[in-house]
């Protein structure tokens, strides 16, 4: 191996790396521009409708009006107040839902008897209209953030449980057999086989739960709040400030999109082993 030979290999390798990075950038670029393009298009149609006067701005707003309002409220710091308030509720409620929901889902999916015993209760709970129980939550958990966190938690936990149950139930018997043959404990089987296999289910769970939790935050803040995006939306709705309503909706949606893409790319990463096509 002469010096030039090494440098040749290295050069080749580097060139390839550059190519890869470029390709990845291109892919991401296409992806972003496609997704962004569609959204931009929708926003443009909306703007045109509102400029044309076909719809009244006091209840349809328009993207530019929303943007202006957003800048104004961001400058005054009000927007951050609401965003931070909601963010806290979201993070705690969602985090708890993941921490509690994933193990519950796994247990119910893993042990048939447990599912038979508690499946119906879970089903009863996830079909129960939370909104009807809000008075109870308020009585039990007060008007502070606890009752809001509970609502967010309950909104987010069920897609997690249901998806994880199904994920556990569709695990490949062959691979569990491999694990068992090395006398893996249930715990080890779970970590080395069940969890990696149920990644698509987990991803779906986390994705759906994000959406549910966000909606839960808004729903919760209708009750006795003094800050938060839900409060902002509701207050604005009650006082005909449609721009602010849509500003709130936009912020939530933007966050939702960001989270969705995050889970999407994450699940793609976990799927690296699936090979190239």
């Amino acid at each position: 191996m002469t010096k030039s030979a090494i440098s040749l290999t290295e050069r080749k390798h580097r060139i390839h790396k550059y190519k890869m990075v470029l390709r990845k950038l291109k892919q991401t670029g296409i992806s972003l521009s496609l997704g962004g393009g569609v959204i931009l298009l929708l926003l443009m149609i909306w703007e045109i409708f509102s400029i044309s006067g076909w719809v009244k701005p006091q209840f349809s707003s328009s993207p530019t009006r929303v943007l202006n309002k957003g800048l104004e409220m961001a400058a005054s710091g009000e927007l951050w107040k609401h965003t931070i308030a909601s963010g806290q509720i979201f993070i705690i409620g969602y985090g708890l839902a993941v921490l509690v929901g994933v193990p519950i889902g796994i247990l119910l999916g893993w042990y048939k008897r447990l599912n038979q015993a508690f499946g119906p209760v879970v089903a009863a709970m996830y079909t129960t209209p939370r909104i009807a129980l809000m008075p109870l939550f308020i009585i039990w958990f007060g008007l502070g953030s606890s009752s809001k966190i509970v609502l967010v938690f309950l909104s987010a936990i069920f897609p997690i449980i249901v998806n994880m149950v199904m994920g556990m139930r569709s695990i490949d018997g062959d691979l569990t057999k491999v694990a068992k043959s090395y006398s893996a404990s249930q715990r080890q089987i779970f970590w080395t086989i069940a969890l990696p296999m149920s990644v698509p289910f987990l991803m779906t769970a986390l994705q759906l739960a994000t959406g549910r939790a966000l909606i839960g935050v808004i729903g919760a803040e209708i009750f006795g709040s003094k800050a938060g995006l839900g409060y902002m939306i509701m207050y604005a709705g009650a006082t005909f400030q449609t721009d602010i309503v849509f500003l709130g909706v936009f912020i939530i949606a933007a966050f939702g999109i960001a989270m969705d893409r995050f889970w999407f790319y994450l699940s793609q990463r976990f799927d690296a082993w699936r090979g190239n096509d």
């Binding site: 008075p135 308020i138 008007l143 709040s225 709705g237």
Partner: protein
Amino acid sequence: SSPSNVNGGTAKESGNPSSGAEQNAAETKKLTKIVYVQLKPDLTDIHTDFAKENGIYEKHGIDLDVIHFDAGGPEALAGVAGGDIDMGNFGTPILTGISRGVPIKVVASPAIRENPFVLVGGKKVEKVEDVKGKVLGTGALGGGNHQAAKNILKEYGVPETETDLRPAGGVDAYLLLEQGVVDAVVATEPAVSRIEKDGIGKTIVKAADIEVYKNYQHSFVFASDELIKTNPDAVRAVLAGHKEAIEYAKEHVEELIAYASEKLGYEEDLVRDYYQKIIPTWIVDGNVNVEGTLNAFEILKDLNELDKNFDTAQENWLNLSFLPGSGK
């Protein structure tokens, strides 16, 4: 409810400063924090916020923590049951709640105590009878708006089943009518004025004018039994604050108009018109129309919204001993 809860339990001495404005006051005087509930922000009680921001309640040693329940009275009363809410003001759900055992008492009237609802007809509705076979929009299910609609229909002999009576929740009456979603709507001020100003519809009948509502009180200020028991002085202080708030608002009408139209997103002219009409009718002393309230109980009973077994003896629902001027 545990006393360690920030909002929890009854009113308590709050030495800990919560926000900038109150901090200054806290230095001079310990404020009693009162969690006070209202429904969605509205012209009918925005003067409370206005007064609060101008330090009226602090003068009385009260840190009035106003929270809004867009969702309606029942959840707010659940807050009472949970021990989080000390006082508040809204409509007849207070009476319904009391009848079903929510531990509160009526302690005063807010500035406006009449039935505020108005039946407004669109293009095709000239009189009450015209709503037959048409869509009549109302407010939240079980709310005062819905009740008013039922009673107006009853008064004019239109069976409920012959109209399409539909609760439209929090959707603005103006929009409902303008967009043709409904043919008639039960609305409050200032939406009624707006509707008439823009020629979208006209007043058909005011609920306050119909027979059942002639002698009637719709809105109340309540305090929780817990607060009444543990800190009656605080109730007294709040009601004193209310009185002064109304007086302050009367003295600073232009500021109030600017404040309200900014907070609520109405045009100033509309707000001015409204206040010019309404302020003269404001009740300053907070007195309760007992007979009117008993009538309200009857109406609710007729609508099957009240516990049939409820004894409307005054001690079961009323405590006027905290009103400014009434002796201890």
